[in-house]
């Protein structure tokens, strides 16, 4: 096994990851409630993917966040920072309690990820459409330096309306960046409604395939499926992989699921209590 292979995932591991994902969702709700603003919908839809990456696939060390050999994650849909911050905190990059400072004056946890402030954040994002290009740049550097790290990226389905995503899609194929593994969080929603209504997106799988990507479609909440997809992506040589993850925006909090309005507003205290209860916990608040 080389350094960059992913360990086999047994049932026990799946159970462990499901529990971490559940806790992550609770922390996402807590931090958003404290900040009184932010993006729950897309944070919850990416939560299982992020949990899988940070707690299983990625070779990262919270004690050494700048290790040049580490795997990277570029959260291109940077508004889902609460999900990234939560994974990083649970992983040990910084104390969990810091999550409650989200979006507050002086906090390292800016509304969108700031790589200069947060240990473990690999690039500053927030303006949609740029992250895949950054991931490519890191992947090019990896090839140049003969390093075998993997660069993961998560893009939004609405985000693909940005032309730069397709510029980056061409770049990754042209330079045969098989060290790029991207996830498309296909939750069918963006701010103004269903992506199909905002701008017809055609068939994502066909589009990326026709650009030359290795494409896998999965249920983005099924840890086993995510694992299979990442393994298949790692076996792929000479092409980048796009894992089209079918997800539910707001996943895990029933009253948020599939509702466009939960894209970018924080729950009230009461809603938060209900959400956390739905996630099998109690929150006394602070």
């Amino acid at each position: 096994m080389t350094d960059n292979e992913v360990e086999i995932m047994d049932d026990k591991k799946i159970e462990e990851l499901s529990e971490i994902a559940r806790q992550s969702r609770v922390w996402i709700i807590k931090s958003l409630t404290e900040s009184k603003s932010g993006h729950p919908g897309g944070s919850l839809s990416s939560c299982d993917i992020l949990t899988y990456l940070y707690f299983h696939a990625m070779n990262v060390d919270p004690q050494n966040p700048h290790d040049p050999d580490r795997d990277r994650l570029i959260l291109s849909k940077g508004h889902c920072a609460p999900a990234l911050y939560t994974s990083l905190a649970l992983k040990g990059f910084f104390p969990k309690e810091d999550l409650l400072s989200l979006r507050k004056l002086g906090s390292k946890l800016q509304g969108h990820p700031d790589a200069r402030k947060v240990p473990g954040v690999d690039a500053s994002t927030g303006s949609l459409g740029q992250g895949l290009s950054i991931a490519n740049g890191i992947a090019l550097a990896g090839k140049l330096d003969g390093k075998d790290y993997t660069v993961y990226s998560i893009i939004g389905d609405g985000e693909t309306e940005e032309g730069q995503i397709w510029e980056a899609a061409m770049t990754a194929v042209h330079y045969q960046l098989d060290n790029v593994i991207a996830f498309l969080d296909y939750n069918h929603l963006q701010i103004d409604g269903r992506i199909e209504d905002v701008k017809s997106n055609g068939n994502f799988a066909n589009r990326f395939k026709s650009f030359g990507w290795h494409v896998i479609e999965i249920d983005g909440h099924d840890l086993h499926a995510i694992d299979e997809a990442v393994r298949a992506a790692k076996r792929e040589k000479e092409a980048p992989t796009m894992i089209i993850a079918h997800t539910i925006k707001g996943k895990g909090v029933k009253f948020m699921e599939g509702i466009a309005d939960w894209h970018g507003k924080a729950p009230s205290k009461d809603q938060a209590l209900e959400a956390i209860q739905l996630l099998g916990e109690k929150w006394e608040g602070n």
Binding site: I134, A141, L144, Q164
Partner: protein, 313 residues
């Protein structure tokens, strides 16, 4: 007089630098023949990334390379670098303060025949407004070459503004370039011309003509627009009359930067030589410089006009 385009000096210096430092990478957006990164591409194909006509992708990819320890030089025309890819420069490069060096050629009116769509007259203003950005405008081939080493050594983003046509060589090989340091090229008491880029040699000509007419005029090469050399501006202000000269809009560029510094530190009469809030057009570089009053003659009359304000108060 010896002449050389700053883009040619850039292309050659980049190869030299590439030989010295193997963490240098270069990106271009289908203009490598014009920006002169083709020389680097030829010698170091594995460190050169052709990005196609995709400036936004190029800037953010350069950021990724810089995040991974590379010093990334990204080149295209000034209009596309600072216009099309502005937000990528702002958010993916300057916000995280990574070492991407945007070396943009074909700046200003001297693009010539391609016309107004290709002539960036606002790029200095745009780039200097962005936090963490350093903005450098070399006056000739020698200073371009020296500046390149300095910007490689400087940590963080840099905008280097380069031109298309061959321009007079002002400096000899002993010239030392320092980021943030202006060079005084002529002493004088009656007025000071602060020039940047290709206007520097015209400023020297203007001062020479004025000397024949009995006026002693200081000349500065303000090769770094940001951070601005405030001390130099203060010294120039002692003459009581400053004229700035730039191949750029009179709004927000060198003139704007100097005016801001003067207002804060040592107000004095000021005149602006630059493009008067208008787009360019097709023509030869020489014709355009003449038509848009970017000449030694117009610097000269602006100096006289500014000096006359001194005595009126």
């Amino acid at each position: 007089m010896q002449k050389k385009a700053t883009r040619d000096a850039y292309g050659q210096a980049l190869v030299e630098l590439g030989r010295k430092y193997d963490n240098i990478v270069v990106l271009d957006a289908d203009l490598s023949k014009s920006t002169k990164t083709e020389h680097f591409a030829k010698e170091f194909p594995e460190r050169f990334f052709q990005m196609g006509i995709a400036e936004q992708d190029m800037m953010a990819t350069a950021a990724g390379l810089a995040f991974s320890g590379k010093v990334a030089f990204a080149s295209t025309f000034a209009i596309f670098a600072t216009g099309r890819a502005f937000e990528q420069i702002r958010n993916s490069i300057c916000y995280p303060a990574v070492s991407v060096k945007i070396c943009a050629t074909h700046a200003g009116l001297t693009v010539g025949e391609d016309g107004g769509s290709h002539q960036s007259v606002e790029d200095i203003a745009i780039m200097r407004a962005v936090p963490n950005m350093t903005v450098i405008v070399p006056a000739d081939g020698v200073s371009t070459e020296k500046a390149l080493t300095a910007i490689y050594e400087h940590e963080g983003p840099v905008y280097l503004r380069l031109g298309r046509p061959a321009v007079p060589v002002i400096y000899d090989e002993d010239y030392e370039f320092k980021i943030g340091k202006a060079t005084k090229l002529k002493e004088g008491q009656d007025a000071a011309i602060i020039a940047t880029g290709i206007m520097v040699s015209l400023a020297i000509d203007a001062a020479r003509m004025l000397k024949e007419e009995g006026l002693s005029v200081q000349v500065w090469d303000m090769s770094t627009i940001k951070p601005l050399d405030i001390e130099a501006v203060k010294i120039a202000a002692k003459t009581g009359a400053i004229v700035t000269a730039e191949e750029h809009s009179v709004i927000g560029g060198l003139g704007g930067a100097v005016a801001e510094a003067l207002a804060k530190n040592s107000p004095c009469h000021m005149g602006f030589v630059g493009v008067e809030d208008t787009f360019g057009e097709s023509g030869t570089p020489a014709e355009l410089m003449e038509k848009y009053n970017l000449t030694a003659e117009s610097i000269k009359s602006k100096v006289r006009e500014t000096i006359s304000k001194k005595s009126s108060c």
